[in-house]
């Protein structure tokens, strides 16, 4: 690993250390019901009118089941609306490239994908979508799917913060506030910064020009910066262009690259700190943050080491030496020169540890160890730090499981943050833990035996299995990145990955809300000498251990046949 890789990691670390605590405080203020929230004077009058038109009483909170029904209905309406827009885009304005309506299967897949915050893309953006679809369809779901995840995260936090409460907040208020108080202001600043770095923001179509050597070129156009800003801040990850953040018009240089990595990480990392503040013990938030950062940083170092180390199978007579003369060297297939192999490793680990799924290098072409690291990150369950709001939700479920395991070892009824963890909570936690792995393994197994599933695999050998496993991990993890050789637009993968995305979103959110509802209703038990402390490094190790053991027990056999076998062959 060269000095450049470590230097950029240190700059990122400083930027996060300064901003994440501020954002944690901000989020806590936004979701602290009953207290004035930041920017009230600006947004409250607008929001109050919106609530009136919606027929919502902003002073009334919801029980967990009503909260969950709101999540499901908002998702359903979002899917139907986006599906309709994509099908009809040929008849609608803001279509300078003259794109016709998207086919039914890809429209279904894309609508599910963006509503579930996955942003798996079974199409190439620049050759499929009109500007209107990108703006009023995808950009909107970039905002609201992130806001729904944040709302759910806030509701789960309230489950632990409250006692004897029948309600866990109001979904509509949490969602609207997530957009107005957090995502929109940050996106405006980030979008303008990205334009200053060279990300385009216009309404042109494909403009033909005569190139320097006289050949004909096209220069694509579109409202790109506005979409890229929210794509990163909301851990969405769906690119305007097919090449995503590897495209120079989405990510023109090293500075735009680092700022986008920051944007992917900032809000998911701020959520545990907001959690600590709202449950009234900031140490509890810092422990979860430490688990997230530890898992993320480990994966960054492994992926960077693998990519900068080069591909041992590269033919003789080609040099991958890690020197500045070679732009950092390392394995460069699918990697952009301005980021280098080190930039690829940092981004790939970050985008899979969060549920972003945007890419700045093609994961399918990464080294076996680098691509395998990305896959392991996804299969951990998107909690290191995971998506905005939902990443914290996932880690809290693991924390519940960790105190349960600790309780079993000492023979006491487990408690977490003063709440007794009993049969209901453990059942809901297990439902949460099993839904995504069951979907991933069952659908991947079906795909490697069924003809249409096999036909969609692009690369031979163990790498082919990796493509399939990665696809369903990415779908059910609501990540959205891909081993892109897989025929994502085929009927088989269009439907099966669509199913995985729905399961990985809603079959996780509903039990987590149930858990929050059950906990919110409970009284807090006082801390005694026998209480297992959950603010210590020991507990951080226990949570990380449970995460790794559960993922290991679930996925080791599949990983052994995919990336691990490939790594041994190379």
């Amino acid at each position: 690993m060269d000095a450049g890789a470590l230097l950029q990691l240190m700059v990122l670390g400083v930027a996060l250390a300064v901003t994440v605590p501020l954002l944690g405080r901000w989020l806590a203020a936004v979701y602290d019901t009953g207290q004035p929230a930041p920017l009230d004077r600006l947004f409250l009058p607008v929001e109050q009118r919106l609530y009136r038109w919606c027929g919502i009483d902003p002073d009334r909170e919801q029980r967990w089941d009503a909260y969950a029904r709101s999540v499901l209905m908002f998702g359903l309406v979002g899917i139907v609306g986006l599906y309709g827009l994509l099908r009809l885009q040929g008849h609608l304005p803001l279509n300078p490239t003259g794109r016709s309506g998207v086919g039914p299967l890809v429209s279904f897949n894309a609508a599910v994908s963006f509503v579930t915050n996955t942003n798996w893309q079974a199409y190439a953006g620049e050759s499929t979508l009109s500007h209107l679809s990108q703006m009023a369809g995808l950009t909107v779901q970039n905002f609201v799917s992130a806001a729904v995840g944040m709302a759910v995260g806030a509701a789960v936090i309230r489950g632990f913060a409250r006692s004897g409460s029948a309600t866990i907040g109001n979904f509509w208020i949490d969602t609207v506030r997530s957009v107005t108080r957090v995502l929109l202001p940050l996106s405006i600043v980030l979008a303008l910064f990205l334009v200053s770095q060279g990300v385009i923001q216009n309404l042109h179509g494909l403009q033909p020009v005569t190139g320097i050597d006289g050949t004909t070129q096209v220069v694509p156009g579109g409202p790109v910066a506005s979409q890229i800003a929210i794509k990163q801040l909301g851990t969405n990850g769906g690119g305007f262009f097919n090449a995503n953040a590897a495209h120079p018009f989405e990510n023109p240089g090293p500075l735009s690259n680092l700022v986008q990595v920051w944007a992917i990480l900032a809000l998911p990392l701020a959520f545990p700190l907001a959690f600590g503040r709202l449950v009234g013990d900031r140490r509890q938030g810092r422990v979860l943050l430490a688990v997230m950062v530890g898992l993320w940083l480990t994966s960054v170092l492994v992926a960077t080491y693998a990519e900068t180390g080069g591909n041992s199978r590269a033919p003789a007579g080609v040099t991958q030496a890690p020197t500045t003369e070679l732009a950092g060297g390392g394995w460069m297939e699918g990697t952009e020169t301005r980021f280098g192999a080190a930039g690829c490793g940092l981004w790939a680990a970050t985008t899979t540890a969060t549920s972003s799924g945007s890419i700045n290098c093609q994961h399918d072409s990464m080294t076996a160890v680098g691509g395998g690291t990305a896959m392991v990150n996804i299969l951990l369950g998107e909690l290191s730090p995971g998506g905005v709001g939902v990443g914290l939700m996932g880690l809290v479920v693991y924390a519940v499981l960790a105190v349960f395991v600790a309780g079993l070892m000492v023979g006491r009824t487990p408690e977490y943050l003063g709440k007794k963890i009993q049969a209901t909570e453990v059942k809901l936690a297990m439902l949460y833990l099993l839904a995504a792995p069951a979907a991933i393994l069952a659908l991947a197994a079906a795909s490697v035996v069924a003809g249409p599933g096999q036909a969609g695999i692009a690369n031979p050998g163990p790498h082919g299995l990796s493509e399939v496993l990665y696809a369903f991990g990415s779908g059910a993890g609501n990540n959205g990145s891909a081993f892109g050789g897989l025929a994502a637009g085929s009927d088989w993968y269009g439907i099966t990955v669509g199913l995985a995305m729905l399961i990985g979103r809603f079959l996780l959110i509903v039990p987590a809300l149930g858990l929050a509802g059950s906990l919110a209703a409970k009284a807090k038990v006082p801390v005694t000498a026998g209480t297992f402390p959950t603010h210590t490094p020991l507990f951080a190790g226990l949570v990380a251990g449970v995460v790794l053991i559960v993922a290991g027990l679930t996925f080791f056999p599949a990983l052994a046949l995919g990336p691990m076998l490939e790594a041994l062959q190379s």
């Binding site: 334009v195 216009n202 220069v219 040099t319 394995w331 072409s365």
Partner: protein, 194 residues
């Protein structure tokens, strides 16, 4: 469930208006007023006419131009297609990819008059992630310089100076990788004449 329908419909409609119409169009207006050059794609000009974007590779070929990295964008035979970005998606152990790299290395040595066994920079024989990577490594640019100088009937020095002019170091000495922008480099050559 049905009681949730009205808030869902109204909230989606209003948030679409705010985040899907007002926000992107507002950003477009501000960007076009404040930074029109960047917002329209960082267009380079040659002899006063627009000649593509400094950020997007062009299919430079033949002895008189510096060649960009191989591209998997567009269809085979029509690479560097900025309307169809993308990488090869070939895996690191895929025999097809490894054979292609060996073939490209041979062609690179032949084109640039390098001895058999000369080590070819990795960036010169691998396809980029976007297929539109405008940059090459400094080593790659210098290995091509003698061919370009000969092709244009120029001494080597001004060509090397053009490389230096198109080279960017790490941002703030820290971020990214040192690299040479092929579009700007070739635009500079076109200005040199010959």
């Amino acid at each position: 469930m049905i009681r949730q329908l009205r808030p869902a419909l109204v909230a989606l409609a209003l948030l679409t208006l705010a985040t899907g119409i007002v926000y992107p169009l507002g950003m477009t207006a501000v960007a076009q007023l404040a930074m029109p050059g960047r917002a329209d794609g960082s267009i380079v000009t040659v002899d006063g006419r627009p000649a593509g974007s400094a950020l997007l590779a062009q299919p430079f070929d033949g002895p008189t131009w510096f060649h960009p990295r191989p591209s998997a964008a567009g269809s085979p035979g029509a690479a560097y297609d900025a309307a169809a970005s993308g990488g090869s998606n070939l895996g690191p152990t895929n025999p097809e990819l490894l054979a292609t790299i060996a073939e490209r290395a041979g062609a690179y040595r032949r084109d640039n008059g390098l001895a058999d066994g000369t080590e070819v920079p990795i960036d010169a024989v691998t396809a980029s992630g976007s297929g539109l990577d405008p940059d090459i490594s400094p080593a790659n640019a210098r290995l091509q310089a003698p061919r370009v100088a000969a092709g244009r009937g120029l001494p080597l020095d001004p060509v090397l100076a053009a490389i230096d002019a198109a080279t960017r170091g790490r941002t703030a000495g820290v971020l990214g990788q040192p690299r040479v922008n092929v579009v700007e480099l070739n635009a500079g050559l076109a200005a040199l004449g010959a």
